[in-house]
């Protein structure tokens, strides 16, 4: 696993965006060879999306031959609710770029049959040829997507009931009315993300420091689902200084010592 330590969230956003751009451009996607990208929502990836939009506007990057699969979506929340992930993706990303809506996939939490919706999602990913690069964030409890602590590390896309902590944290987005907070969500499984050829996880802020410690320095444990990626052959975690607060000094020093190597990962072609 690679751990890339940047100074602050803005640098994390820029590094991640540059990496995504380079991966897509190096892939040379075209009409018979789509780049398949897994996407997260939330506060952490927002800066990365902003950078990607700028690259598209500057003509350095195109999503014309990119297919996307989002990680999760609430159940029984109107699609245009400001907290829905459809709303998030549309307003923060898709409306600004040149992606074809046919190539955008987000789980439908209002589907008639949620089980079938989840099974189809797995099928769609498979038909697209699997995910080339899955980008994720994590929660303070180390969850990836809505794979709350205790989720199976080989889980697939499915319906999940949210933990009480998550509901309480979300209440502020729903006028502090617990009755309005969605209790369930559809989410890709840990196993679904593990199947991606490459995984990029963004972690910023002191509140995520303990989770990062669990992910890097402790063993694989379903109570910290992000720790599963220790067993993924091609995972990059990008974090800021604050997120390293619970790590050992020697761990931080080791990874920082590799920064030159890491920066080569985002070097642009000189044509």
């Amino acid at each position: 696993m690679r751990l890339i330590i940047m100074n602050n969230p803005a640098e994390v956003a820029e590094w991640a965006a540059k990496y995504v751009m380079k991966r897509i451009n190096d892939f040379k996607p075209r009409s018979n060879k789509y780049f398949v990208l897994g996407l997260p929502t939330g506060g952490t990836p927002l800066g990365m999306y902003k950078n990607l939009i700028e690259y598209v506007k500057a003509g350095k990057l195109s999503f014309k031959y990119v297919k996307t699969f989002n990680m999760d979506e609430y159940v029984n929340l109107e699609r245009n609710h400001p907290e829905s992930y459809h709303y998030y993706m549309w307003n923060n990303f898709f409306k600004h770029i040149d992606i074809n809506p046919e190539n955008v996939h987000i789980l439908n939490g209002n589907a008639e049959n949620l089980t079938i919706e989840c099974q189809n999602y797995e099928k769609l990913i498979e038909e697209a040829g699997g995910v080339e690069l899955f980008i994720g964030g994590i929660g303070p409890d180390g969850h990836i997507a809505f794979n709350e602590p205790g989720s199976s590390l080989v889980s697939r896309t499915r319906l999940k009931t949210l933990a009480q902590d998550t509901l309480e944290a979300n209440a502020r987005f729903f006028n502090n009315d617990m009755n309005k907070v969605p209790k369930q969500a559809l989410t890709v499984g840990v196993g679904t993300v593990m199947d991606a050829r490459e995984v990029l996880i963004l972690i910023t802020g002191a509140s995520k420091a303990y989770a990062l410690y669990k992910a890097i320095e402790e063993g694989v444990n379903h109570m910290w689902t992000v720790s599963a990626f220790q067993q993924h052959s091609n995972t990059i975690m990008v974090c800021d200084e604050d997120a390293t607060l619970e790590l050992k000094v020697k761990t931080v020093k080791y990874f920082k010592g590799l920064s030159k190597l890491h920066n080569q990962l985002i070097e642009e072609y000189v044509v």
């Binding site: 459809h86 709303y87 409306k95 074809n100 809506p101």
Partner: protein, 394 residues
Amino acid sequence: MTLKQFYNCRILRNHELVDDHLWVRNGRIVDPEKIFFDEKILPDVKIDCNGLIVAPGFIDLQINGGYGVDFSHDIDNIEDAVSLVARKIIHNGVTSFCPTIVTSPFYVYRTILPKIQKRPGSADGAAILGVHVEGPFINPQKKGAHPEDCIREIYRGFSSVENAYGTLENIKIVTLAPELNRSGEVISELVKRHIVVSLGHSIANLKQAEEGCRNGATLITHLFNAMPGFHHRDPGLIGLLASEKIPKPIYYGIISDGIHTHPAAVRMAYKAHPDGVVLVTDAISALGLSDGQYHLGQLNIEVKGEQAMIAGTDILCGSTINLNRCVQKFKKFTNCSAAFALEAASLNPAKVLGIEKKKGTLNYGADADFIFLDDDLRVLSTWIAGEKVSSNFD
């Protein structure tokens, strides 16, 4: 149908300029999120707006003519006259208007009112929202440039009104003086028929004005003009801006040309009651023409520079300013935001007419009537039903 995306623009939406896209189909503004996720299609045409402001098209509630024609005088070819102005004012960013008829003999109303029909906007010109009849039920003491011999009292209540106009079908706004006998019942009857009643050409005291509002009047005609000046013991019609005895806040038309209304007066009205401002031109036949002699209804008038007066007098008789200039001047006079100045000539007049879901807004479902402006609020192009109908550059 063609789906158009306007991008790289600052859109006037919910009282502010926001970086967003505008998607248009079938002459309406559509919600792109729905199209993206439900229909999964991309726009057929993408139009780069180069960072310009995109605002709803202007709506002029009071315009007597322009470009050499006068709606109250050119009664033989009134359709052509209205069409000419409709076609010309789109260059000023006006996408809808209310052709205005000043106090006239009854035969004039009966001849022209049936001929000025409401119609949607198109490449042929701005939409006609209905006629604004200014008079004849006004106060002769504040006749302004209206011919005194044509001014009428309301002897027989509402039947006087029907008798004067012949038909109410094409009328959208009536300006009258609320101090006239039996004006109350007339206001109620007009409002019942979805006609907006505007108070003006009047010496009403505040009490009479408030009574007019309680009967249903919602607008003041060209504030400060054709009414007594502000008096602190009886503020009259002007007092409506701060009245607490009317059912809902008043709207007021104001000619923000710096001639009919001094910049300081514009500022005072704006500070007293910002949400009520409605920019109107009150433009006459000389709009868009050079200095010379023209007509306003039954009167001869003389235009010199930006001033229009009854020939041989110093009585102002309507402006020669276009609505785009009014917006620019209003912003300069009041130092308000661009968004505010633009809404004063779009959203607010739409609200007066109760059409703010369709016109004067760029919300989803509204008519795709809009304008592109630079940062000086100069109109660069005008679009009606999603099609470009005028361009002031290239």
